[in-house]
Amino acid sequence: MQFVYEVEAGNFTKAGNASSDFKKVLKQLNVPPQIIKRTVIALYEGEVNIVAHSLGGKIECEITPDHVVINLIDVGPGIPDIEKAMQEGYSTASAAVREMGFGAGMGLSNMKRNTDSMHITSSKEDGTTVTLKINLT
């Protein structure tokens, strides 16, 4: 089962719509509440990242009997130094993002903490793709 959500850059009114929708799907599928919470927290952090830091993108969520795989794909501008971006407290967020309650430099590490695996690829040309995997069994 696959779901695809478009994510608009800079639109904080819509930020969270994809995560909210996918949470409802997981609930309908009777996924255990603790797994739902870990999944949607990681997804929401990723969705906010696309809104806050990218030029826009999309989120693909796939559910199989064994796991949930989430691809957060944006069109740029890319993360220059992924290692640095993973450090807690490091952030390049704008004042507008901070006003929304984000930009503390906790997002990527919190995504990693809530998932069973996380993989990031990023370049100036192709943008950033973050792949999250959460085991269901």
Partner: protein
Amino acid sequence: MKLKDIVSKIDAKVVCGENWEDADIEFAFASDLMSDVLTLHCEKLLLITGLCNLQTIRTAEMSDIQHIVLVRNKKATQDMVELAEENDIVIIECPHSMFKAVGELYQTGLKPVF
């Protein structure tokens, strides 16, 4: 601690939510930073915040937090109320500073998360 006792202790007003009076609250977390709220894994939690926008409600939704106190006399907007109602989230408006609201509630026995 019952939510009705919390509301009366901090002179607050409930702006949305049903059957909230007897909700049982054990812990509280105070922050204007939603990034920090998203790191919590705790039930029976009251979120105390001065951040008053849609992402406050979204963060609560993702974190399974059902009760939010808006301090510093912040008022929930109509779209915040609608989103909260959709997710059975109770919004409480409190006229006090965060320091005062937190101090009052700490004294009554609400526990810190860490």
